[in-house]
Symmetry: D2
């Protein structure tokens, strides 16, 4: 049994605790949160767990093998460093850290200690994304040409970051998982039309190798919630709509090809198929993967390296934003 | 009765003829198209009309008061110039011309001759867009802050232009109609992932006065068709979905405001209302407006000046595209 | 060339004329309508056609080979009889007649004269319905077990019939086309909640051979329009949603089976496929079929026999309605 | 604090426990379930609760004030009787009992003992249904004319009852809550197309006073899940779609009226409004109501009398089903 302590029981922490308590091979032993109200709620729901207002109680507990950190981004580095230094395995919220330097240091530390470091890029573990990767690897889509992603939320604003660092890590982790590599360059346009004091909607364009392109629209201000992704290959296209209750993934036997001799364009359109998806909660799959990596001493799919990549691209994105949207290398 | 001649009976021409033949005060007298097959179809449907393979037959016909031109963009200038020189009123396809210089010359010519020059920016005349403008003018939305527009098509590629000059004129005419002015600057990212030899998907960002922003996604390559627009004001937000069969417009009593003292953010969400819309075909409304402007000697809503504005912004967009997406003034 | 005359240019007539004028091998020569306003509209759109206020002008015209009748139900019998007596081929609106006796007389008359008699059960010729029949015939669905059909309209009330005789012929023609036979019995519940003086919403249940069942909900009073059909076989199920702009047909690899020994139930659910459909307008396909049957001397898919079946079931439905919904044999 | 014991931790029980543990004024003290596997799961999630394989441990526990029963229908009567005899307040699953006689006995017993008896007709407490009732009571819809309800599920078959006793209690409790009375008569058609050995799809028609009518389609066999309700009044109509993530309720300013003198029909259609709904989980609202009724000694909205009404109508429905669908009084 892996003994786990959880730090942070705010918006996302309860989902982690709920999933960890039903993951085979896991024993959740303690929860820490600075806010007495949140801790009280945790204690009420899980009277058998040790609860503490002080994260150090968890971090310094020798009984604990792994620490799960669900706190605001600004605290990721210090808490992660503390945990890794004490030899714990760590599952950290996204993004891994506020800067590339911090992210790389955490990853190096995990390497030295032989600890598993995983970043909580939850959407990567959703059945629809796993299936998309499967289709791409099987060659079903042909060459990956472009991805358009829309992540439009209703009023869940973060205090310590802008919308790019808050929402785009989801899209970035998915994009790099599907493309299998980092983008080469990025251009970002942002705005703060509601005068919130920080970027609240942004459009990010990423150039991937071989002329492939990806575009991401993240937005805190919409009255409607959208989670939409178009993945176009040379042979097939996939539309992912996370708001749909069923048939979240639709694979279109459709493509646009140009005859190299005549230059004539042929737009083909055949059947559409909505493959059956694994409906396991993404976070449950992720927790199982975390424990499995600890046992095997393996690098998680969204391990330190993936976490570093996301932060590297986020830094480039912020750089482009400051340079009025000009395209910058990653 | 206004006698009308139509040039071009390809994809869009039949819609124009169909609407003109049922517009009060109009008598369609002739149709011209270079392609014998298209002309034959026209002759079969409208045996009473004069049909010709030569546009000049229409342009030089003294009986004709107004000429409607539905040909590829590259021919707009020459045909429009010919018609205006002969003193005809002209309804021209979008965009008005291939260059700002040509567009301005046509507009000047119309002004000198006292002819009505109108550009066929059809979507502006749709019930949903007219209603949106009405809501904005009545102050229902508060200050206009941002517009996000998605125009994703299935495989109707143009031969003589890229996707920006083909599809973005629709969005641009709507944006300027809603904002009541031109954007100040523009940044454009484009790609040709299917190797068609010209930009087939593009993301355009427009900065309007007072920090308002608009973003447009135009795309020829999608397996699904999308016509979607989010219009966010400080007090209310509107979602326009043209694929919906009814309730194309949804007005959300929603807004995000920040308290100037505390800095606290308040995301409000109330009822949603889908106002009843005028379901008249946009093109029918447009035809009535054209004839009405001829009778009143008035400038159409999408007259020469609006047409010039669209071309000016398209030129700036192409400029930004060539400069790898950097922001350029309009 | 088959010379065709059209009687009735009200709601549906214009669609017939529009499709007939573009059907190969057809020459529309005349239109008749009692209402001067409608005739004027026809004359304006088709100045080359002969127009008349008197149906007899069309019916007695020796030049005319086939008569298409798009008038209220109450006139079907008299007009159809007149046309068949004059040796014309006849395409009649649905349902074929007001009574089984009249319907059978028209069919017999056509048989004696060697005329083609076809009933305008348009939906049978839609790409989605043709594909459904194809799937059933290929055995893809397994045994046909039940069909649930919802046909809910917005405010297009007929004056001379109730909602059953107005809308249910559509569902009945589809049901019999898919099952390949008539239902054995029927039970009908109806209501007139808006006090219109005739049944404006009704629920019809049909029992088909081998325990299969079909249910139809027809309704004039809904604020939303629904055209929905669930077709369940032992192996696969199909959902048809005519309001969808694309993917009108979704085939679910799903079934519920019971193990004969253990009695345990197994609910299987696999992929969903939306097959590509022929998007030709149903009425165009129907017009081609009419002309083809005339040339081949063949019985149309929705010929006199199918028309008689529909009327026979409608009569049984009305009988059940009068007997407070008890199940009556067809 | 009200001490609560829960009997049954199968499909629905976990939802009850989860909501009860966060209801103010409630202390859940014990759970009983016959199945060791289910009990083990409960013990793991709630290590502080007493767990027992024997319901009597809960029923006979003097410390317990209220018993919540989430077991198969066949056990409702015996368990409910035992609990009421011991002076407990009782929240029982739906329907209250297998027969009217049993239901009435339980209700009488609760009355004699001064215990609160509530039936778990959860959907009545959903924000959308509460809002619908509010609109009806405020007169917004005019006279209630007809309700059409579709409850189509995917493969959750019950073993001890048919689809009518399993799913229709939901619709019935809603119908009676909205109409404020019982139906006068009922006619039911059912089928077992998948040969499950019991009715797996059924169509129920209910006649309410003043000519109002309601129709319910319940179905275990559909590949898609539908929860749809059309509520038509003389002035406005409401569409409730529970599958929608937002805007579950749409109020149409639409009506069909007939001029009493001319007999002319007028179909009016204005704006649509989607009122903001209380998004509290229905079961949470229900738990609060249960505790509140205990404190006030009040009859719950879905108390014994409502529970008896539902069972009375279900019995009439089964009677109609046996009589091949003929209309029977309730």
């Amino acid at each position: 049994l892996i003994s786990v302590g959880v730090i942070g029981y705010g918006y996302w922490g309860p989902n982690l605790v709920r999933n960890l308590t039903t993951t085979d091979g896991v024993r959740v032993v303690s929860i820490a949160d600075r806010a007495p109200k949140r801790l009280e709620l945790a204690a009420r729901r899980y009277p058998e767990l040790r609860c503490s207002l002080d994260a150090a109680t968890v971090l310094d507990d020798d009984e604990i093998d792994a620490v799960v950190i669900a706190t605001p981004i600004s605290s990721h580095y210090a808490l992660g460093r503390h945990a890794l230094t004490r030899g714990k395995h760590v599952l950290l919220g996204k993004p891994l850290a506020r800067s590339l330097e911090e992210a790389e240091e955490l990853t190096a530390l995990a390497g030295e200690n032989g600890s598993v470091l995983m970043v909580d890029h939850t959407p990567v573990y959703a059945g629809a994304i796993l299936k998309m990767r499967e289709l791409i690897e099987a060659g079903s889509l042909g060459d990956l040409r472009c991805i358009d992603s829309v992540r439009v939320n209703r009023g869940l604003l973060q205090r310590d970051v802008d919308v790019i660092w808050d929402l785009a890590p989801h899209d970035l982790s998915i994009l790099m998982y599907l493309f299998g590599c980092e983008p080469e360059s990025v251009a970002v346009v942002g705005a703060d039309p509601a005068r919130l004091g920080r970027t609240s909607l942004a459009y990010l364009t990423f150039w991937f190798p071989d002329g492939a392109i990806a575009h991401v629209h993240v937005n805190w201000l919409s009255p409607v919630k959208l989670r939409w992704m178009l993945v176009a290959g040379s042979d097939r296209m996939v539309v992912f709509d996370d708001i749909e209750q069923s048939e979240k993934l639709r694979v279109y036997d459709a493509g646009v090809t140009v005859d190299p001799l005549s230059g004539l364009v042929d737009a083909r359109r055949g059947d559409m198929t909505a493959p059956r998806l694994d409906t396991t909660e993404a976070l449950a799959t992720e927790c199982v993967h975390f424990i499995d990596c600890i046992h095997r001493g393996a690098e998680p799919v969204t391990g330190g390296r993936a976490g570093v990549s996301v932060v590297r691209v986020l830094e480039a994105a912020s750089r482009s934003l400051r340079q009025s949207g000009s395209r910058v290398p990653v």
